[in-house]
Symmetry: C2
Subunit: 142 residues, 2 copies
């Protein structure tokens, strides 16, 4: 997650995010976990690490800032919850429908989109979503 020997502060700096104490602890947490925590989980995990109280609004503000700055990305897994992921490598996610566990899947594993993956993953379904920009438009379509 955290690139090479970079400090959390330098990661923020390189993305143009001013390093306040609140942002530091939140980014540090995200950059050092393989989990895909929700805002609530981030709050629980880091609120003890500051001398002052950490408000929910700040957690949400910070997560949105980090997302917009490109430090983390959103993962939409279950309905009704946004999760955050500091792994910016080209990868996808496998979600265990029993436990809810979310596991990173390197993009190169996704060759034929249906075969692939370890035999350890019994795939029930795949959901692929493109986000982009629809050109409006000349004749022929999808």
């Amino acid at each position: 997650m955290i690139p090479n020997g970079q400090s959390v502060e330098s990661v923020l700096a390189s993305h143009g995010v001013k390093p306040t104490p609140q942002r530091m602890v939140i980014a540090e947490y995200l950059l050092n976990t393989l989990d895909h925590p929700t805002a609530e989980e981030v709050l629980d995990a880091v609120s003890g690490k500051l001398p002052v109280a950490l408000s929910r609004a700040t957690v949400y503000n910070t997560l949105n800032s980090l997302k917009e700055a490109g430090v983390v990305r959103e993962v939409l897994a279950e309905p009704g919850k946004v999760r955050y992921d500091a792994n910016l490598s080209n990868h996808h996610h496998f979600i265990d429908v029993k436990t809810g566990q979310i596991i990173d899947v390197p993009a190169e594993k996704v060759e034929k989109l249906g075969k692939l993956l370890d035999k350890k993953f019994k795939v029930h379904g795949v959901q692929v979503t493109f986000f982009g920009d629809l050109q409006q438009d000349e004749s022929e379509q999808t």
Copy 2:
């Protein structure tokens, strides 16, 4: 969406869903749109079509029943909203980040996952999510 010349009633029957009037109008609506409506949008669209009031609880109950029965599937596009899709063919979604419009993309268009698609779709990002069942487990992993 709706298979061949089948009636809505027979679609429900073939999936083991008892065809009440509420379920009929909801299923009929979903089976005849290319949209990917939310529960709220379903409620708005069909509530006038019944002689009685249609409660929100029934809409949610019905959507969950239809999903579990395999008549529709969930689409997780934007955070905080579940959308429903009666197109069960193997396909993915393109979401216009400007308008929010959701467009079906046939699976065969998704060959190399990055190239592909019409030039009309400028892809900013792709999110692939597998849902499944994690075998717990012998040695080697992803």
